[in-house]
């Protein structure tokens, strides 16, 4: 019974923790501009994150060591450093965006300017990272993130013509006013948002924090293969709400308030309150995950003690990194930079960094010295190699698309 409850808790937190500021903003932007014609990219991204999260979770469960730890050892310090730099920059950008997202969510209920809220949010994130147990961070914020199901309820309540809505799923239904370059730019951004690198680092390091063993591989797979796709459905619901309410009115999404507006139209104050709680939980949870990921990555690469399963004094370097990164993130936001713009940049550059993140995972997952009989099978390798090709195309296309479309403006 306890095992089933663990599976259920893991799946629920995986659903609630799947969406972050990148998914919220990008899916709403895409829904408002392209309808559902880019949903196939969400599906592609969710399958991709499942493939690589399962590999990194399996590595953690079998070897008892996290991804970065093994990448440096298996591929050498030079490749490890490349991997570290690429993923760290993107994770730091995402951390900044998430802290900004928490401040924006609080602004919606207080009308206090988000810049004034940033120091308090950053302090709260750091206190949680320092004091709270890993399982508490994951479970409480993951479960609260489930309130984003409000988007699915709102979409149902809006009562769209489902047949008509489904007919917009085809890429051929791209609005005529939008160019294919802009369509491709948002496709890459959606893909980057779904496959953002910190998710696998957090997932594998979390496995070590929770002391997964080979016996936990089944539970881990249930979390990944059930939780992540259901989390992906939330992304589609966000895009669907924007398609039904914002697109017909010509509203382009540039603020977090606009993301929640369709829920207010459909469900009123109570529904909106539930979803804004979801904004807070999703961004605060992701801020903790990205913050921890920066600490995990650096500590694992340089080989010093890390993790929340040891006392802070035993992992002093790890906690100093968390503090420095939090101060840095708050400092960037205090310059007045728009968190939504940081989010847009982070999801696109996430796509650029994807090969640096996922190629080493595929290599380690094929090494029998680490994984023994749990090495990748043919199917996992087929998917892994296939996705590496897709990831490489997205990474190569990302920067030219930024230039050609002026960050998706047209």
């Amino acid at each position: 019974m306890k095992r089933y409850l663990n599976v259920l808790l893991g799946v629920l937190t995986a659903i609630g923790g799947f969406v972050d500021i990148g998914d919220l903003v990008t899916n709403a932007q895409v829904g408002a501009r392209f309808g559902l014609s880019l949903v196939w990219v969400v599906v592609l991204g969710v399958v991709g994150i499942c493939v690589f999260a399962e590999m990194s979770g399996r590595i953690a469960a079998v070897s008892g060591r996290a991804t970065f730890d093994l990448v440096r050892e298996r591929l050498g310090p030079r490749m490890g450093f490349l991997n570290l730099v690429g993923s760290m920059l993107v994770t730091l950008l995402t951390f900044i965006a998430e802290i900004g997202g928490v401040a924006l969510a609080l602004q919606l209920v207080s009308s206090v300017n988000h810049v004034l809220l940033v120091p308090f949010v950053a302090a709260a994130v750091w206190i949680v990272l320092w004091r709270a147990k890993f399982s508490a961070i994951e479970n409480v914020l993951g479960l609260l993130g489930l309130t984003l199901i409000g988007f699915a309820v709102a979409l149902w309540q809006l009562g769209p013509d489902w047949g008509e809505l489904a007919s917009t799923l085809s890429p051929a239904e791209k609005p005529a006013a939008e160019s294919w370059a802009t369509y491709a730019f948002f496709g890459v951004a959606l893909f980057g948002a779904a496959m953002t690198p910190y998710e696998v680092f957090f997932f594998s390091s979390g496995g070590v924090e929770e002391r997964w063993t080979r016996k936990d591989i089944g539970v881990m797979r249930a979390n990944v293969f059930i939780g992540f796709p259901l989390g992906g459905l939330l992304s589609v619901a966000i895009a669907g709400c924007a398609t039904v309410v914002l697109m017909p009115q010509g509203i382009a999404v540039e603020t977090l308030g606009q993301v929640g507006l369709p829920v207010a139209v459909a469900l009123g104050k109570v529904g909106l309150a539930v979803v804004v709680l979801g904004f807070f939980a999703a961004t605060f949870g992701a801020a903790c995950e990205t913050g921890l990921s920066t600490g995990y990555s650096l500590a694992q690469y340089f080989g010093f003690q890390w993790g929340k399963y040891v006392r802070p004094r035993d992992a002093a370097g790890f906690h100093v990194i968390l503090l420095v990164m939090t101060v840095l993130a708050a400092g960037v936001l205090l310059t007045g930079v728009d968190p939504i713009m940081v989010t847009e940049i982070s999801v696109v550059f996430s796509a650029v960094a994807l090969p640096l993140t996922y190629f080493p995972i595929l290599v380690v997952a094929n090494d029998p010295d680490y994984l023994g009989e749990h090495c990748n099978g043919r199917f996992a390798n087929l998917l892994g190699v296939g996705y590496l090709m897709v990831i490489t195309v997205a990474a190569v296309a990302a920067i030219p698309l930024i230039v050609i479309t002026s960050m998706g403006q047209g």
């Binding site: 602004q107 209920v109 009308s111 309410v245 010509g250 540039e254 308030g257 507006l261 009123g268």
Partner: protein, 147 residues
């Protein structure tokens, strides 16, 4: 000695090319039209956001701070659209169009500002407010096909 000269020439050429030290081109009519169209599209989005925010608040489906943040953000974004447009170099013979565009954006900005003022005061039952926003939206929609 020749090597040093060559390096200097290359560095000067690269600096000149990258610092915009080139002939100043005439304003491009097509580019101006494209930017004018983009400005109208962006302004339409802000006015529509303000309208939907006011309508939702009027129906008591959203709390006041949420509405206030929405319309304040829309007002700020309208200001950016106006600023960006005012910096465009107008091509020869398009002065009239540029003036019309500026007037259109001023009216749209005034409508959004009006919505923000009503939101600050918590007054959403003024029927004139929605009329002002509707008129601004209509004018923007008509202008959208002009450029």
């Amino acid at each position: 000695m020749m090597g040093a000269w060559r390096t200097t020439v290359v560095v000067v050429c690269v600096l000149a090319a990258t610092s915009g030290c080139s002939l100043v081109g005439q304003p491009d009519v097509a580019a101006w039209d494209e930017q004018a169209h983009q400005a109208v599209t962006d302004a339409t989005s802000e006015v529509a956001t303000a309208r939907l925010a006011v309508q939702t608040a009027r129906d008591e489906r959203v709390w006041s701070s949420y509405t206030l943040v929405l319309v304040a953000d829309a007002e700020k974004a309208m200001g950016t659209v106006q600023d960006d447009t005012s910096r465009l170099q107008v091509p020869p013979g398009r002065d009239r169009d540029a003036k019309d565009l500026a007037t259109l954006l001023d009216d749209a900005a005034a409508a959004v500002q009006d919505a923000r003022q009503h939101a600050v005061e918590g007054r959403y039952d003024d029927p004139a407010l929605l009329d002002v926003l509707d008129r601004a939206e209509d004018r923007l929609a008509r202008a959208g096909s002009r450029w």
